[in-house]
Symmetry: C2
Subunit: 273 residues, 2 copies
C-alpha cells in the first residue's frame, strides 16, 4: 500500500517536440489539478513534423527514456507526429503506461453519431503516416476522410502571427479543399493548433465541429488513470516541472503563451548518453 | 610532394543545418569544378536559426568532427547562423582551415565604396548574434546598418512557395522597414534566400544592390585555397558526396532544387558517439 501511494504521487511525464504540447498540459491541469507533471520539450531538435518516421522514433525513444529516468508513473505523447510514428513501438519497449493524442481525438470526433465527413489538418509527418485515417476507419465504416498537411501553421504560431492577415490567407489555402468537400468535423491534429481556434471558427462554415487534441486527451487521460488506479491523491497539489533540450527567451515566451501562465523555472535537459 | 598532392585531392567539407547550403555548393562547383565536395546537412535537427548559441555551437562541433573524420582538407560553414555563433570557437578547436559565409558577404557588400546604408535579412539567431553588424562596422566606420530577422522565409522556401502571393506579402512585411530607412544594399544572410532573388528584385526599389552568401563565399574560397596552396589538381573532376542526418523525399526534392540538378545518391550520416 505504501508503494502504491508513492507511485500515485509520482508525476505524469509529457513530451513533445517543443512547447506546443503545453496546450495538453494546460487542459490536464484544469481537469486533474492533483497531478504533478514533468514536461520535456525537445526544442533543440524541433520540429518533428517534417522529419522521417525513423528519426522521430529515435527521438521519441530518447524522450521517453529521459522521462522514465525521472520516475514518471505514465507517459503522455503530447505530440501528434510522435504519436503517429512512434506510439506502437514505445508501448512494446516500455512497461510504463504510454498514451498518445490520436485515439482520444478519434473517439471524440466519432462521439457524435452524425459525424460523416472528417477533415484533418496536421503536420506533413502526421498526415503521411495515415495514423488518423486508419484509426478513424477502424472505428467506423463509411466515413469520408480528408487529410490536409498544413506545414506553415507551426512556424506562424511560433512567430505569434496568430491574428495576422497572412495567417488567415494561409489557413484559407489549407481549409478551402476541405470545405469544398463538405466536411462536418475538423480535427486539429497538432498540439499547436488550439491557438488558432478563434480564427478557424471565423473561417469555417457554421456547423463544422472542431476537435482538438488538448481537451480530448485530458479526458482520456483521466479515464485511463482511473482504470489503472493511478490517479494522484486528491489532496495533492500538482506541480509542473518543465525541461527543454534548448533554452531561449523565445521558447520561454512561447511556453507562457501555450500554458496561459508563467511556466516557472525552466531547466535544460540533456538526452541520451 | 606526394603527401601534398593527396591533401589537395581531398574533398572540401561543407555543412549546414539542412540543404540550404547547397546554394553555396552550386556556386563553388561552377567556380572550382576540380574540387570534390563532401556535404553534411543536419536535417534531423534543423533549423539552426531559431535555437540558442550554445546548442548551435554543440551541433556545429559535431558537424565539423564528422567532416574531419571523412578526411576533408578544409571546412566551409555553409550556414549563416552556425558561422555567426560557432566560427571563432571552431577555429580555436581544429587545425583544418575553416571558412564561414559572413566575412565574404561583408567584403562584397563593402567592395562598392558608395555603400552606406545596409539592410540585412537573416534568421533570428544570425540577427541577434550581431555578427554581421560587428563585421561590417569593423571594416568601415559611418555605415548605417539595419538587421531584420525574417524567420518565416525558410519555412516558405522549404514549402516551395517561392512564387506564392503570400510569400510576397511576408517579404514586404520584412522589407518595408528596411526600404523606409533608405538602404542601398541588402545582404541575404541565409543560404536559403538566393531562391527568392527574383521576387526580391521585383519588390525592392531600383538601385538596391543584393549581396548573397553563395557567390561571395565561392570567390572567397578560391582566394583562400590559392593562398593556402590547397587547390585541387586542375585535371581533377570534382565529385559531390551528400550526407544528411535525416533522409526523406522532401529533403531530396529540396536538395535538387537548391543544387539545380540531381544530388545523386544521398547517404544518412550518424553523428556523435
Amino acid at each position: 500500500m505504501g508503494t502504491l501511494a508513492v507511485v500515485n504521487s509520482a508525476p505524469l511525464g509529457f513530451f513533445d517536440s517543443g512547447v506546443g504540447g503545453l496546450t495538453v498540459v494546460r487542459a490536464v491541469q484544469e481537469l486533474l489539478p492533483a497531478e504533478s507533471i514533468l514536461y520535456l520539450g525537445d526544442t533543440a531538435r524541433l520540429p518533428y513534423g517534417s522529419k522521417s518516421p525513423e528519426t522521430i522514433r529515435q527521438f521519441a525513444d530518447e524522450d521517453v527514456r529521459f522521462l522514465i529516468s525521472h520516475g514518471v508513473k505514465a507517459v503522455v505523447v503530447a505530440c501528434n507526429t510522435a504519436t503517429a510514428h512512434a506510439l506502437p513501438r514505445l508501448r512494446e519497449h516500455y512497461r510504463v503506461p504510454i498514451l498518445g493524442v490520436i485515439q482520444p481525438g478519434v473517439e471524440d470526433a466519432l462521439a457524435d453519431p452524425k459525424t460523416e465527413r472528417i477533415g484533418i489538418i496536421a503536420t506533413r509527418g502526421t498526415i503521411n503516416s495515415h495514423a488518423y485515417q486508419h484509426a478513424l476507419a477502424q472505428c467506423r465504416t463509411g466515413l469520408v476522410i480528408h487529410g490536409q498537411a498544413a506545414p506553415l501553421l507551426v512556424p506562424l504560431i511560433e512567430e505569434n502571427w496568430i491574428d495576422h492577415p497572412v495567417t488567415r490567407q494561409i489557413l484559407q489555402v489549407y481549409l478551402d479543399p476541405l470545405v469544398d468537400k463538405g466536411i462536418d468535423t475538423l480535427m486539429l491534429a497538432c498540439t499547436h493548433y488550439p491557438l488558432l481556434i478563434p480564427m478557424l471558427k471565423d473561417l469555417l462554415p457554421p456547423g463544422v465541429r472542431l476537435v482538438d487534441s488538448a481537451t480530448t486527451c485530458a479526458e482520456h487521460l483521466r479515464r485511463e488513470l482511473t482504470r489503472l488506479e493511478l490517479l494522484a491523491p486528491a489532496a495533492q497539489s500538482g506541480k509542473l516541472e518543465l525541461y527543454l533540450t534548448d533554452l531561449s527567451e523565445q521558447f520561454e515566451q512561447l511556453a507562457h503563451q501555450f500554458l496561459k501562465k508563467s511556466p516557472g523555472r525552466i531547466r535544460r535537459a540533456v538526452l541520451g548518453g
